[in-house]
């Protein structure tokens, strides 16, 4: 396929483009946002977006696209922004990415598109995520979903299990091919981690609702309150309910604990529970919503871990009034897997990062509630299996940190419900579903899988990439019948 050459509307010479500074993302002031759940980033106004778009060097071989798991045509959509065609830019992104308002906000751009940006090597990379977010939001405000056209029906039925980014992407792609797509979700809301995990201040739920409405308008059907494996099995979907193919995108939902003493104390949470209470169940709006949360006002709270989940949890705790909010991370800041922007924002908000530190025991106040964590300082040794330097405890460095609440964000594992109720579905030793990395096919005919349930917990964009590959492969299977 020869790339379509779009004539550049960029009036600036290359040298001048390098002189334009990266446009700052307007955001709520740190002191103010630390007390509310409203989105931190406010979004570019059109002028800033155009200004930022002018910085694109329009590389002949854009590394940004190569490094994007779904291959968004960055150069082309940025050129459309320069030309002032924002809806055109949105449509260009949608060719490869059905959830741009979401990835524009939560993708670790520094690891993908922006990490590949030539500008980044010289000055500062192009704000690709910010631009993506801008056009997606613009489209949302200006698009009438009533005008969305539905594809001609193929009479093939596909069941999607799980409504996280992998499932939503697969659903969106398949419905555009004219297949009848039905999404089954265990929870009462659609969106997976996007609704139960990532907080409002980073990804407003309204955005997910809008994306879901968009997909509904395209013809996708959603059914909540169905735990596949319990409420209905994969075999029943295929044999009794007439589905021609099934995609499993059930995520890596099972929280892990450290197995140290005192983890059962009141006040010790998994990050999943802490965030689910706050996001899915709106505990931050108690008592308007019924779901309660322990009182955090003025209390010492710590999260254990250094990923996005950890930062989301502790920043939520801060917003619920925590007096002192710590991140306890056993490696150094350089190894932290969280998005760079989140670390920056968390620091601005006053989160206390205690790196190279890990709890070894949780202590009780004598009445079953957490009182303190006994912690140990760490140093980094030789690289481990992950390639990162292994943290080793420093002898004699133990200390007590007074805490009322501790949140475990040390990772998740595979939810076994689907695997254990689907005969012949092969899994890895750790319980993840084995799927071909290109076709996302599993060991069962007509059954495909992708996202965190295959890879272990990863990122939104990687899950979307898997959903996209699965959709293509499901379409091939439905068209040819060949397995």
């Amino acid at each position: 396929m020869t790339p379509v050459k779009t004539p550049s509307a960029n009036p600036l010479a290359m040298k001048e483009r390098m002189k334009v500074p990266r446009q700052h993302m307007p955001e709520q002031l740190a002191q103010i946002r630390a007390t509310n759940f409203t989105e931190v980033n406010l979004g570019y106004p059109a002028e800033l977006a155009r200004q930022e778009a002018l910085r694109c060097l329009e590389c002949a071989k854009p590394a940004c696209t190569d490094r994007c798991p779904v291959g968004v045509k960055v150069k082309e959509f940025v050129q459309l922004i320069v030309a002032g065609d924002f809806l055109g830019a949105a449509a260009k992104i949608r060719e490869d990415n059905v959830l741009p308002a979401i990835t524009g906000r939560v993708c670790p751009q520094e690891d993908h598109c922006e990490g590949g940006c030539l500008m980044g090597k010289k000055v500062q990379s192009l704000g690709i995520g910010y631009l993506e977010r801008f056009v997606a939001d613009y489209e949302q405000q200006h698009l009438d979903i009533k005008n969305i056209k539905r594809a001609a029906a193929t009479r093939k039925k596909v069941a999607i299990v799980g409504s996280g980014p992998s499932g939503l992407t697969a659903a969106g792609d398949l419905v555009q091919k004219g297949h009848q797509v039905h999404v089954f979700e265990a929870l009462h809301e659609i969106g997976g981690v996007l609704v139960y995990g990532i907080p409002e201040f980073r990804l407003p739920k309204q955005i997910i609702r809008e994306q879901v409405d968009y997909m509904r308008a395209m013809g996708v059907e959603f059914e909540t309150d169905v735990v596949v494996g319990r409420t209905v099995t994969i075999d029943e979907l295929l044999d009794e309910e007439g589905y021609d193919a099934v995609f499993i995108g059930t995520g890596a939902g099972l929280p892990q604990f450290m197995g140290i003493a005192g983890e059962h104390l009141n006040g010790v949470y998994s990050a999943n529970e802490f965030l689910t209470r706050i996001n899915l169940m709106h505990a931050y709006e108690f008592p308007r919503y019924d779901e309660p949360m322990v009182e955090l006002a003025g209390k010492n709270v710590a999260v254990i871990g250094g990923g996005n989940t950890a930062l989301d949890a502790i920043r939520s705790a801060l917003r619920l009034g925590a007096g002192k909010a710590y991140v306890l991370y056993r490696r150094s800041e350089a190894e932290m897997p969280a998005r760079a922007e989140e670390v920056k924002h968390a620091k601005q908000e006053g989160i206390d990062f205690q790196v190279l530190t890990a709890p070894v025991e949780f202590l009780s106040n004598g009445q079953g509630w957490l009182k303190a964590a006994r912690c140990v300082r760490m140093e980094l040794g030789e690289p481990d299996a992950s390639g990162r330097r292994r943290p080793l405890p420093i002898a004699g460095s133990e200390f007590e940190l007074p805490l009322s609440v501790a949140i475990m964000a040390i990772g998740t594992s595979a939810n076994p419900i689907v695997q254990s109720t689907t005969p012949g579905l092969e899994t890895s030793k750790r319980g993840y579903i084995n799927a071909n990395p290109e076709t996302q096919r599993t060991s069962r005919k007509g059954v495909f899988a992708g996202g965190d349930i295959v890879t272990g917990s990863a990122t939104v964009i990687l899950a979307m990439g898997a959903g996209r590959r699965a959709a293509k492969s499901i379409h091939d299977y439905l068209s040819t019948g060949a397995w």
Partner: protein, 327 residues
């Protein structure tokens, strides 16, 4: 949405609901539960399924008014709707011919013990049922338990009906009389289950209890329902709800269940002040939601109408379906 096709109090503060939930009804096995959320601002609470009718596509749940959600639910009437019902969740009870089993139900726990008792009876066991309640009025499912057991014993704390005492008194008697017991299943308040475990531990009688920790999603995702089993954390929603009573740390269960007591009290107090207003708004909201095409359908429409999610909304105002109650 899930329609209540029948609702009636079976004892003071204890109400039985027959709810249209065809997918759940088809799959339910004894010992399993559902999680429900009454309305948009509601919390998710687990409730054991008393029985189901796969043909009619209904499940029965028995609810005792305790906190805000159960109080609100118990004000719902025939014809009302529940926003979310998901299940069946949890591992089913282990059913086989053990020999002689003693099934013990304490209070509303009797409704949860009932389906397992029935299945154990069907599997060829000799079933001795012991049902306990605070007083005569609170004895539930007496007839049903009688039907599925070889012997039925009843105790009331105050002696207002049958024998005065606790279910454990009866259990001890059985043991003293030399009755060979192969399995004990106890479902009820935590102190009762703990007391049963203490009695049978000494006798080395295999004992199973059904635990009721705080839950949110019910699929293993949040870990809120973790219980200490032999000092190891397990999730009641996916590893349970039934566990070997002699390995359960009841103290931690009590402690964790008390985690939100303050908040629950506050919720309940505010709810009591505006109980009527609250009922009205919730009813109206659910009615409105039901009228909205697409996003939420009746569960009844799900099975036949799955092909056309948006159009299959089966919502009638049911104006004359209830007498009194909320309307």
């Amino acid at each position: 949405m899930f329609k209540i096709v029948h609702a009636a109090f079976i004892a003071p503060g204890i109400k039985r609901f027959v709810v249209e939930a065809p997918r759940v009804a088809r799959k339910q096995k004894p010992g399993q539960f559902v999680i429900l959320r009454l309305y948009e601002q509601g919390e998710r609470i687990p409730l054991t399924i008393e029985r189901s009718d796969p043909e009619r596509g209904t499940i029965n749940i028995v609810v005792q008014s305790a906190g805000k959600t159960t109080h609100l639910l118990n004000s719902f009437e025939t014809g009302d709707r529940i926003l979310d019902v998901v299940g069946p969740l949890g591992k089913p009870s282990e059913i086989q011919n053990f020999g002689t089993v003693v099934v013990m139900g304490g209070g509303v726990g009797t409704a949860m013990a009932y389906p397992t008792a029935a299945a154990l009876k069907k599997a060829g066991n000799r079933v001795i049922a012991i049902v306990g309640a605070r007083n005569k009025e609170l004895v539930i499912l007496e007839r049903e338990m009688g039907e599925v057991s070889d012997t039925l014993m009843i105790t009331t704390d105050d002696g207002s009906y049958a024998e005065k005492g606790f279910v454990t008194d009866k259990l001890r008697q059985l043991i003293q009389n030399g009755t060979r017991i192969d399995l004990v299943l106890a479902v009820g308040p935590i102190p009762m289950m703990k007391a049963v475990a203490d009695v049978t531990r000494k006798e080395h009688i295999h004992t199973v209890v059904s635990l009721n920790p705080i839950m949110i999603d019910g699929t293993g995702m949040c870990g809120g329902c973790r219980v200490l089993i032999d000092s190891k954390s397990e999730f009641a929603c996916v590893d349970g709800p039934e566990f070997d009573a002699h390995r359960v740390n009841f103290e931690v269960l009590v402690q964790r269940n008390a985690m939100y007591r303050e908040a629950e009290r506050r919720s309940m107090a505010e709810f009591q002040q505006e109980i009527e207003a609250k009922r009205q708004t919730v009813r109206q909201e659910l009615e409105q939601l039901c009228g909205m095409n697409g996003s939420r359908r009746d569960a009844g429409a799900t099975v036949e109408g799955r092909r056309d999610a948006g159009a299959a909304v089966e919502c009638r105002p049911d104006v004359d379906a209830t007498v009194g109650g909320l309307r």
